[in-house]
């Protein structure tokens, strides 16, 4: 399995077909998402001004995005002033080259990484490995995924699809750990022993960024384990890869996110480890700091008036945890490091709606709206899903479905056509109806009767019955 990227290897329904059969994964996800859902609701209910905070967070992101170019240039100036270096990457390939070249210039044999989905988006690990540079993921869940040769299946908890017993087996196999139990403390200790040595020997670290403050050139990483803090402070060289949408103009704008992010992601009141750093400082932290600003399709997303709200995302993963589709298929079915509802709108847009497999993702939703309710930056995910469905359909050649839809629209255009169609259906359904119900449908509708009966068209439609009722009243 590929270690990341955003290009789904196959259409969503095909990937879901296999994922739905994985009973262990189904059980793990049901348990994990169910638990975090309950906790998030509790954490959010504590704040009487939650709705106002959501509105403020959304408005803050929108305002930052309106002058994105300006803020990015200010950020570049500020970072340079503080002794850091800034690199601009138009796409994933450019970003990979920038990071690999810096690591190679320092003759690094191994880099340690802070959990970063952006680095997974650009498939950095395989590029580094191809250049002969080893990669050690230091976030516990990312480490599990890496050791298993697996791909992340959740934005916040990349190994959410695995349970304790599976992790114990993995650590025994790959770390040589003598684990007698699958108690979380024992598993964490095994990872700690392995990682401590890596922290102390590595010279180059790679991170992502949750936010950056343009006015001071400060970059921020929000994490729970403290392993990120180790990576950000111990090695000599730090390379941070940041999507261009993460920049905020000033510190005032940061405050609201420190309130909404922890409650939305881990259901905590306050985030455990929040690191801020500004350039480099003599005798403290890394001696060399590189900030890689990544576009990789984001400018195109920003150009779409409906789709641009996607860039508000602060990667909290609340939408994944409440999504009934995600809970059942898991993250791998989305074929991208951005799974779930946010992935269903972000992945195809980052690929400019030109990837046929990614273009199946906007339909991977029943439009139930749970994601929009949970989103701390009020991304109207159902709205964007529908918008993308329209854009993708507009550019597709007309197939069987398109003809059926256009015919249906013509039928609904006039009541007599609609009534005629109902009568026609009533006659046509004859051979399909058995004891008042339809158990097998042909063609596009066969998927329905795979698992569901369908009631037969009754002898009279509402409008026929209504005429009879009116006639009865008049007599």
């Amino acid at each position: 399995m590929s270690a990341g990227g955003i290009r789904p290897p196959r259409p969503f329904p095909e990937a879901a077909h296999d994922a739905l059969k994985d009973s262990q994964m189904r059980r793990n996800l049901r348990h994990a998402t169910g638990t975090i859902r309950t906790k998030r609701l509790r954490a959010v209910a504590e704040l009487p001004d939650w709705e106002a905070l959501r509105t403020q967070a959304a408005a803050t992101k929108d305002a930052a995005m309106r002058n994105l170019a300006e803020h990015l240039l200010t950020l570049e100036t500020s970072v340079k002033r503080a002794g850091g270096q800034v690199h601009w990457a138009r796409d994933a390939a450019e970003a990979r080259t920038i990071v690999t070249d810096i690591a190679a210039a320092h003759a690094a044999r191994e880099v340690i990484k802070v959990k970063s989905i952006t680095s997974d988006e650009i498939e950095l690990n395989s590029a580094l490995e191809a250049a002969g540079i080893g990669v050690v993921e230091t976030d516990l869940a990312e480490l599990i995924v890496q050791l298993a040769g697996d791909a992340p299946s959740h934005i916040l908890v990349p190994a959410i699809h695995k349970n304790r017993a599976e992790i114990r087996d993995l650590f025994r196999r790959r770390l040589g750990a003598e684990l007698l139990t699958d108690e979380p403390a024992a598993l964490a200790e095994a990872a700690r022993v392995y990682l401590r040595e890596k922290f102390l020997s590595a010279t180059v670290a790679v991170s992502g960024a949750n936010f950056a403050v343009a006015e001071t050139g400060t970059v921020c990483v929000v994490e729970s384990e403290g392993n990120g803090r180790m990576c950000l402070t111990l090695p000599d060289v730090l390379i941070s890869i940041m999507g261009i949408e993460k920049v905020l103009p000033n510190w005032e704008d940061m405050a609201v996110f420190m309130r909404v992010l922890p409650r939305s992601s881990t259901a905590e009141r306050m985030n455990p480890y929040t690191s801020f750093w500004t350039g480099v400082r003599e005798g403290d932290g890394p001696r060399e700091f590189h900030l890689v600003l990544l576009d990789n399709g984001r400018t195109d997303v920003l150009a779409d008036e409906v789709g641009r709200q996607t860039l508000r995302c602060i990667r909290c993963s609340a939408c994944l945890n409440v999504c009934p589709v995600y809970e059942r298929t898991g993250g791998h079915a989305y074929g991208s490091v951005y799974p779930g509802p946010i992935g269903a709108i972000l992945t195809p847009q980052l690929l400019k709606l030109e990837d046929d497999n990614a273009n199946t993702l906007p339909w991977a939703s029943s439009l139930c709206g749970a994601c929009y309710d949970a989103c701390p930056v009020k991304i109207n995910i159902p709205e964007v899903l529908i918008h993308l469905r329209g854009k993708i359909t507009d550019h597709k050649p007309l197939g069987v479905e398109g003809v059926a839809m256009k015919t249906a629209a013509w039928v609904f255009g006039e009541p007599h056509r609609f009534e005629g169609a109902i009568k026609l259906a009533r006659l046509g359904q004859g051979p399909l109806v058995k004891q008042g119900a339809i158990h097998a449908l042909p063609g596009l509708l066969a998927g329905w009767t795979d698992s569901r009966d369908l009631p037969a068209f009754p002898q009279q439609s509402f409008r026929e019955l209504w005429r009879a009722r009116k006639a009865g009243e008049e007599q």
């Binding site: 739905l20 709206g369 359909t393």
Partner: protein, 260 residues
């Protein structure tokens, strides 16, 4: 009040009894109902599946069909949510400012049945009698887009003879999602399996909701399993009375004849 019925295409073709039940109920509460035969479909299926220019024609048609209505009431949370929530977006995306103003105005006068009864008319006891064990599924669009909240439950609690069984994980989508149910039928079925499990765990005779599309889905699963548990639209429960149509009742459904 003069109430214009928006029956919806699905109910017109497949579930006419629901429309009759809604009409009977509103008349029983002293209102005048009107059904204009020009109406067909709100265009939700087209819009949500990606055929937005086709949907736009149906949006304009809906405005023509109902612009003179005092209030429009429909037995479907999903269709009403589409009118209220997405018609303005459809007009906005099409760049039609006149249509935008029209749909915003019409949206204010368009209601789902339970919210119309409880929020607009202020009625929670409609004098219904329905001697059955019932569980209620809050459909996604009624819950999250219309925010009907407890309105349907308040109505059900006041139905004489009815035993209301609380449904587990009620907020979880049943997996219908319009064309989602055929385009992603396996994921849809996985969601349905959990919904059916929760319905059966209540040991109710019927599952009710304010939307026949979701009920067609849940009922289709219950029927395929030969579970013996049925589905019935909220309007049909509320239309049932002890006198009159009682003897025509099947185990749970109201017959169309009884409502004529």
């Amino acid at each position: 009040m003069q109430v214009d019925l928006f029956i919806t295409c699905l109910n017109d073709a497949l579930f006419p009894t629901t429309g009759l039940a809604m009409a009977t109920l509103l008349e029983r509460l002293g209102h005048t109902v009107r059904f204009t035969e020009a109406q067909t479909c709100c265009g939700q299926m087209h819009f949500n599946t990606g055929y937005q220019s086709e949907a736009l024609g149906l949006v304009r048609k809906f405005v023509r069909d109902f612009e003179h209505a005092e209030v429009v009431v429909a037995p479907s949370g999903s269709c009403v949510a589409f009118v209220r929530d997405l018609y303005p977006k459809a007009a906005e995306w099409a760049g039609d400012t006149e249509l935008h103003a029209q749909v915003l105005e019409l949206g204010k006068r368009t209601f789902e049945l339970s919210e119309f009864l409880v929020r607009v008319l202020g009625v929670t006891d409609v004098g219904a009698y329905y001697p059955h064990r019932v569980t209620y599924h809050p459909t996604c669009h009624a819950a999250r887009l219309l925010r009907v909240g407890d309105a349907p439950l308040e109505l059900l609690r006041n139905v004489r003879g009815l035993t209301l069984e609380p449904l587990g994980a009620p907020e979880q989508c049943c997996g219908f999602g319009g064309t989602f149910s055929v385009k992603n039928h396996e994921t849809s079925t996985a969601m349905l399996a959990d919904k059916v499990q929760n319905v059966l765990a209540t040991h109710a005779e019927v599952c009710t909701a304010g939307d026949n599309s979701c009920l067609m889905h849940i009922g289709g699963g219950l029927a395929r399993l030969r579970s013996g548990t049925g589905v019935v639209h909220l309007a049909e429960i509320l239309a049932s009375v002890e006198e009159g149509n009682g003897q025509n009742l099947g185990p749970a459904r109201v017959s169309a004849e009884a409502l004529l």
